[in-house]
């Protein structure tokens, strides 16, 4: 039993290379730290939104453009709770703030998960195996959801003041780090760690990893892949909702188009990472977040195209993504 499993460190080395290459370009170490934390925070939030979608694609080969609706609905659900509990958000105590933010996050996860369940049952199930129809019906579903948000919450953007204890920055010498960005990094790391534990250490995780490679063979071993898929779809939708509320609090506002706007970045992240790969999605999200912040500072005119440029370069290096999933 001597043939050990080898981990591919090259994509992580790429993240390290980006970090190091940015330091001389940015010029100032304190600015570099601020930009790095901002990039990591953005990456973590994008990861939360994207990880469910990559698993859904890997498991059942479903192109779900409606994933953006789960982000928006999650953000609006949380906004409703936060506005109702705004008194707690205004108190300078972290405990008081969390007593509003945790129910808000829970509402986002539950409502986005429930919407995901509805979508899987009603919209996506009839079009399994047909990518063109999947794109059409899920895009249609996304538009319908946006309009329903207008009906329920109104057409205007809703301001979402940040919690009092998370406003402002922590400073270390010349380095200023926004408190909220630190929270985003911590929540993102916690989500990644939970997903890693689930996928690497549990039987359900083993089934998901096997199902992403070969769903038919998993069925041939006696497992009902459809049930597993529904579970992953709902969990992925809930995570998108959580990512939505984190992003909304970061932007300090919610609007019905926020999910659709994030879908471009999310698709870039899951393509860079390797369709179906959660680890690849994580590394891809970090790269997107870091580059967006570094390039936005060093060469603002290039910021708009930085994600596309990153995707092109990564796919030239690894055409199936950073951590390709071997389909059999």
């Amino acid at each position: 039993m001597n043939a050990a499993r080898r981990f591919d460190w090259m994509p992580l080395a790429l993240v390290g290379a980006v970090l190091l290459a940015a330091l001389p370009l940015v010029g100032s170490a304190s600015t570099w730290v601020t930009l790095t934390v901002a990039g990591l925070a953005m990456g973590m939030m994008v990861y939360m939104m994207a990880s469910g979608l990559t698993l859904v694609f890997g498991l059942m080969d479903v192109m779900n453009f409606a994933h953006g609706a789960f982000i928006s609905v999650g953000a609006y659900a949380a906004a409703s709770v936060l506005l109702a509990l705004h008194g707690r958000m205004e108190q300078p105590s972290l405990a008081a703030n969390l007593s509003a933010m945790l129910p808000a996050a829970l509402a986002a996860i539950v409502l986005a998960g429930a919407l995901g369940l509805f979508f899987e049952r009603v919209v996506i199930r009839p079009v399994y195996g047909d990518h063109l129809k999947q794109i059409l019906v899920t895009m249609g579903g996304l538009i319908v959801c946006e309009q329903l948000i207008h009906v329920v919450w109104g057409p205007d953007q809703i301001p979402l003041p940040r919690a009092a204890s998370l406003a402002g920055s922590i400073t270390f010498g010349d380095v200023a780090i926004e408190r909220y960005r630190l929270l985003a990094v911590l929540v993102g790391l916690a989500v990644f760690a939970a997903m890693w534990l689930l996928l690497a250490r549990t039987r359900i995780g083993l089934l998901i990893r096997a199902g992403v490679e070969n769903a038919e063979m998993v069925e041939s071993l006696g497992y009902r892949i459809r049930r597993l898929f529904v579970g992953v779809f709902v969990a992925g939708s809930g995570l998108a909702g959580l990512g939505g509320v984190m992003w909304a609090m970061y932007q300090e506002s919610v609007n019905a188009q926020m999910g659709m706007q994030m879908m471009v970045v999310i698709f870039i992240v899951i393509i860079i990472g390797g369709l179906g790969s959660v680890g690849g999605c994580f590394v891809g999200a970090l790269l997107v977040g870091l580059l967006a912040n570094y390039i936005g500072y060093v060469a603002p005119k290039l910021a708009l195209g930085s994600n596309i440029l990153l995707m092109v370069l990564v796919l030239l290096w690894r055409p199936n993504g950073l951590y390709p999933v071997g389909k059999s």
Binding site: R5, L206, R209, M217, S328
Partner: protein, 241 residues
């Protein structure tokens, strides 16, 4: 002939616009090893996939252990004791050898005694225990696919071309492993193109052509009749010694 564990009667299978199985009738006797032979495109793989429920029979009936299994979902068939090794082996390349076997062990844990028996059949599995399945050689992947199918006792083993693309030394290992498997009470149905392998191991044989069974009987009788081999398969077994 022993009582049939699996029987197909008038089974038709359509894949899209193609009518692949056109009324397949044959039985797999309980406890023996049945070879399903035929030229390329005869419908052998479709036959196995239809039995496993991966493609739906459009007409006819499939009975497994005396019960109608024509439209039984694949996971239920697996839980009733049917194991399937597809032509492409279906191993999970991103999982370790251990994880591949663990997934097939529905008792949640691997039976150490059974594992030792499998390591005896395929020592390479023990050597690669923590290695990724995707890094194994073609022969080792086939060994893993078969090990996974037998990691727990199964009643019926469906194996699609186990010797495809394998070196002669590995085929010899496969023959020994199947001989050992035949000593258990597992019923085995093998689709095969290697006639030496088929003749060495088969108890009974069914030959397919153009989506139908054109011959059934004892493997020994087919092996002894060169004229019949030439008529059914287009060449004699002697050509493959």
């Amino acid at each position: 002939m022993a009582e049939a564990l699996l029987s197909l009667a008038g089974v038709h299978t359509h894949i899209g616009q193609y009518h692949i199985l056109q009324g397949v009738d044959f039985e797999v006797p309980r406890g023996g090893l049945t070879m399903l032979l035929g030229r390329n495109g005869a419908g052998k793989t479709t036959c196995l996939r239809t039995v496993m429920g991966l493609w739906r029979a459009s007409a006819g009936s499939i009975r497994y252990d005396g019960k109608n299994a024509t439209h039984t979902p694949t996971p239920d068939l697996a839980r009733q004791g049917i194991a399937y090794v597809p032509e492409n082996m279906g191993i999970f390349a991103g999982l370790t050898v251990r994880e591949n076997l663990l997934l097939a062990a529905r008792e949640q844990a691997l039976d150490e005694k059974r594992l030792e028996w499998i390591f005896g059949l395929f020592p390479a599995m023990e050597k690669s225990w923590h290695g990724l399945a995707g890094t194994l050689s073609g022969g080792q992947k086939q060994m893993l696919a078969i090990s996974r199918a037998i990691v727990e006792p199964r009643r019926l083993l469906l194996v699609d071309e186990p010797t495809k693309g394998l070196a002669p030394a590995i085929i010899a290992n496969m023959i020994d492993a199947f001989k050992e498997l035949k000593r258990t009470d597992t019923t085995i149905l093998v689709v095969e193109q290697n006639f030496h392998f088929a003749r060495t191991l088969g108890d009974t044989v069914a030959v397919m052509d153009s989506g139908r069974i054109v011959h059934t009987g004892a493997m020994a009788a087919l092996a002894a009749d060169q004229a019949l081999q030439t008529r059914l398969l287009g060449l004699s077994l002697e050509a493959h010694q």
